[in-house]
Subunit: 571 residues, 2 copies
């Protein structure tokens, strides 16, 4: 294959026309050409390296790696560094190896990190534990290019032996360590970085990012479905202040300062997660354009999803050079950044209309190791007329919760929710064969009837349900179990579900189909009175114990401030 | 140790005031401070990371690593990646280990590369051969951070097995491979880079550097004693043309282009070699200032000798961050860049006037394994009145030579030089126990009497001599032998020499002393009529066979174009 095109060269920040020859899937020859009147440029637009998402949990897209590839190539993505943290919590090594094997069935570059924190806490039942022996097994694989985000920063700071062992193994195998340290700063941050944890994707303010960057971390600017940090991190008024303040104008020549304002000082743009309904509309192509709209030099923004991550993780990707794998995309221009074609290994995988490879359905062992539930399993009992209970107060679009207290009436010894005060039931049903479950109360969902349930519940992914009646809770949870995992919305009038039979996290359907089904579920939840924009996402994070102030696991209601269990009934 | 200072942060391209605490030689704490009227800044000026010379042959400074450290810290250099290629040609592994051990006697960061091409060619006698087994031995050492410059690019391109083995070993031990490929381009360059050779310091034109950079190499911009490529590579009119041409203005927004003009697209600034008389006046501090004078953003220029090389070679250096080794310098300001203080591992090693550590003399086994010579050893015989001879024509300051032909008279069967035509005698005397030597003729030195000799003669470092009479040639060579190596200038009227007893390449004296003695020798050579600015350097390169067109080794006169020996006498 041989053709002419204008190449955007991320190594010299420039554009040049060249004749490109591809053989055996690699760039065999790239010869700059001189444009004359006779020159025919085969590809209109501009040839760019394929985009790299250097931090993403594919499971959050609710589709298999192969299906992920199929939608991602439409947006110009050709490589990802995926952290299979979610499936690892459900299925351990088997789940990670499922991801790796499934990834190999499609023409796309999947690199993986070894999930460092499985389970997330000892206060919940997960499907697997990855100790340092398993981490060593994973780090030896060629497909594993890093140790996944080290969320256990208290463990790092306090010198937890098993944590330090995992970090030391990463150094032994010369694989970089990804970080995850929201709001960590000062001495604690120093200690964390001192363990060679070199990236962070959790910065939510410019000041936080600057401190981490100044201390030597590479900063991943996140533009995902859950978290969006671009506006904060690409805030140029802060950038200018940062350059101006502390008298630096007196030390750095002014003209030097003015030149660097549009040059981002951070390193990568990543998604972290992309829900199916976002993913069908765009991926890094949208993020890069958004960065440019925010004032970032467009070529520097492109480098944040090409050469920068490729260099960091030593990937055969990220630039158009002889000898490299022939991954590239054609975009219309640097203003609109519409992806016209995507090539991987020299093969066209997206022609502007269709994706040119097929995805096979996969079978994954059933991860719903739990008996069907009875309505009374969801009851909270109290011997008296009414009682005072601790309530989780959740907020639209937020992972943080607050502790509320409410007085609830009982009926036949069962504590009743209060629909007028929007105090509903919430339960977590363990699905790993241990039959534990916990019931409590939550405020903020607004459901007037029915119930919703999901086997996507961070990080252990037990089944979580919110609803008014124990009947409906049981029906919703049982629908999820019968589907082998997934999301269900039930009421007296209607019922619908999205089956996620792969680890209870992913579907075999493609992104468009999953997005459509999810959309139906969202509309049904609204019809039941739900006031949240993303009720399933919000519900999924009610089990994420590490985010304060009050959460729930299969073992009970949890105080995220004191990091211990708390009683549901206060009396 | 705890103090306040303004830090130049090469990670965020900015300056900020901070309180810095150093413990056990590392940055323990770096806390940004707010400047008020009461704030006392302990260090006037600006705190920078220590400079890193990522490609240098210390032997060219004619002093030991320890003495090199002593002069380099005056100029703000705290780390070097040194290629002990010269001593390896003389003494092999023993020489490299001598360098490593000597380096450890001073507070300075010496990193080494494993010399990849010893001997340089098979057409000369060297003191050692480093095959792939020795390279593997070296690559396993912590002190060795890279495979040294791969000068044998024909070997790479033609797939020489031993060369490929050395390259494969570097990948096995995950140590980067340095390149050396002057003027290599097109398909051959592709093949060379295809072997993971990732740097080049030989670019002498902007176009050459752009091609190599576009193909994925990191470019070392050289500012040494022998080669100076800054003007060519930092030529901003070419940079602008490069950005403007090939219609890229139509594709890249104009304001994006205008912003990047002052941002260098190359990676490191290196010296390659620094002769003692240059080194006493400055090192990378001068180069960075020169880059700035040429229009390079001063902070970007500083990054080319700090964070960029540190990242590439994975050095614990290059930025001022918690947990890093506390190497730093204080400069007066970013315009003048005068080095006021230098700290290594938290210890002040240069206080603005004095270097605060001592250097011990070292003893190295005598490398002059050669008998004293007789005058007749330097004769060229011909049975006839006159003969036509091939003559090396050399040029001031250049490594390239041209082939000349001259007719010389004989006397008692010995071919006579011709002082009026500036045709002198040149000889190379092997010093590794084999007793071979070669005599020929050279034009360009201008000596009217006497002779000069040196045991610094690239790359095998046999003894090379240029002079008018065989008597003087013998005296000069014998002086070098008796000194255990070095440089000598002799005539009927006077005689002087610089002893370089360490491998025939280095002195135990400090840089100031060696520079002074060298200066005497230069003035004496001038007094003998020499027209060259650096006669000893020019002479040293007359034995470097790989540079065309005509050179000489201990085995004979050499045709660098056809790469074979040639006769001295053409009759």
């Amino acid at each position: 294959m041989s053709f002419t095109a204008y190449i955007l060269d991320v190594l010299t920040d420039s554009v040049y026309p060249a004749r490109i020859t591809i053989e055996d899937g690699i760039f065999k020859k790239i010869v700059p050409i001189t444009i004359t009147e006779e020159t025919k440029i085969d590809f209109e637009g501009l040839m760019l390296p394929g985009f790299i998402d250097s931090h993403i949990h594919i499971e959050s897209s609710m589709i298999t790696p192969a299906q992920f590839a199929k939608i991602a190539v439409r947006h110009g993505t050709t490589s990802v560094v995926a952290d299979p943290h979610e499936i690892a919590n459900v299925m351990g090594i088997e789940g990670i190896e499922f991801m790796i094997e499934n990834a190999k069935t499609v023409p796309f570059n999947f690199y993986f990190s070894a999930p460092s924190c499985v389970p997330a806490t000892s206060f919940e039942t997960s499907g697997a534990i990855l100790n340092s022996a398993e981490i060593e097994y994973l780090l030896q694989k060629d497909e594993i290019v890093a140790l996944g985000e080290m969320m256990n920063f208290p463990g790092v700071i306090n010198g937890d032996e098993e944590v330090l062992r995992k970090l030391a193994l990463s150094r032994k195998y010369k694989k970089p360590i990804d970080g995850h340290a929201p709001l960590l700063s000062g001495d604690d941050l120093d200690k964390y970085i001192g363990q060679y944890i070199v990236t962070d994707h959790e910065c939510s303010s410019f000041q936080e990012a600057i401190e981490k960057k100044q201390k030597g971390m590479k900063i991943m600017v996140r533009d995902g479905s859950s978290a969006k940090n671009m506006e904060a991190l690409f805030d140029f008024s802060q950038r200018i202040d940062h350059l101006k303040n502390q008298k630096s104008f007196g030390i750095i020549p002014t003209e030097v300062l003015s030149r660097r304002i549009h040059s981002p000082i951070f390193d990568f743009i990543v998604s972290d997660d992309k829900h199916p309904n976002d993913l069908i509309h765009g991926h890094l192509n949208k993020s890069v354009k958004k960065a440019s709209d925010l004032g970032v030099d467009i070529i520097k923004a492109i480098e944040m999803v090409t050469i920068n991550p490729a260099s960091h993780y030593s990937l055969d990707a990220g630039s158009i050079v002889t000898g490299a794998k022939a991954d590239f995309i054609i975009v219309d221009n640097l203003f609109d950044l519409n992806v016209m074609k995507t090539y991987i290994g020299g093969e066209c995988v997206f022609d502007g209309e269709n994706v040119l490879f097929d995805v096979e359905d996969v079978v994954c062992s059933d991860s719903m190791n739990v008996d069907l539930k009875n309505p009374e399993d969801f009851d909270v009992f109290y011997d008296g007329d009414e009682c005072e209970v601790n309530v989780i107060k959740c907020f639209n679009g937020e992972l943080l919760t607050k502790k509320n207290i409410a007085t609830l009436k009982t009926k036949d010894g069962v504590v009743q929710p209060n629909i007028y005060e929007d105090i509903l039931k919430i339960s977590v049903v363990e699905r790993y064969g241990g039959n534990s479950m916990a019931n409590a109360f939550i405020k903020g969902f607004g459901l007037k009837k029915g119930a919703i349930a999901s086997s996507v519940a961070h990080d252990s992914h037990n089944i979580i349900a919110v609803g008014y009646s124990s009947d409906m809770m049981a029906r919703a949870v049982n629908t999820v179990i019968e589907n082998g995992g997934g999301i269900a919305v039930v009421s007296e009038d209607f019922e619908s579900s999205l089956a996620l039979p792969i680890a209870g996290l992913m579907s075999n359907e493609d992104a468009f189909e999953v997005a459509k089904e999810l959309d139906v579920l969202h509309r049904m939840a609204s019809a039941l009175g739900c006031k949240l924009d993303s009720p399933f996402m919000t519900m999924a994070f009610m089990a994420l114990l590490v985010i304060p102030s009050i959460k729930i696991s299969d073992k009970g209601l949890f105080d995220g401030d004191s990091f211990e269990f708390m009683d549901v009934i206060r009396n």
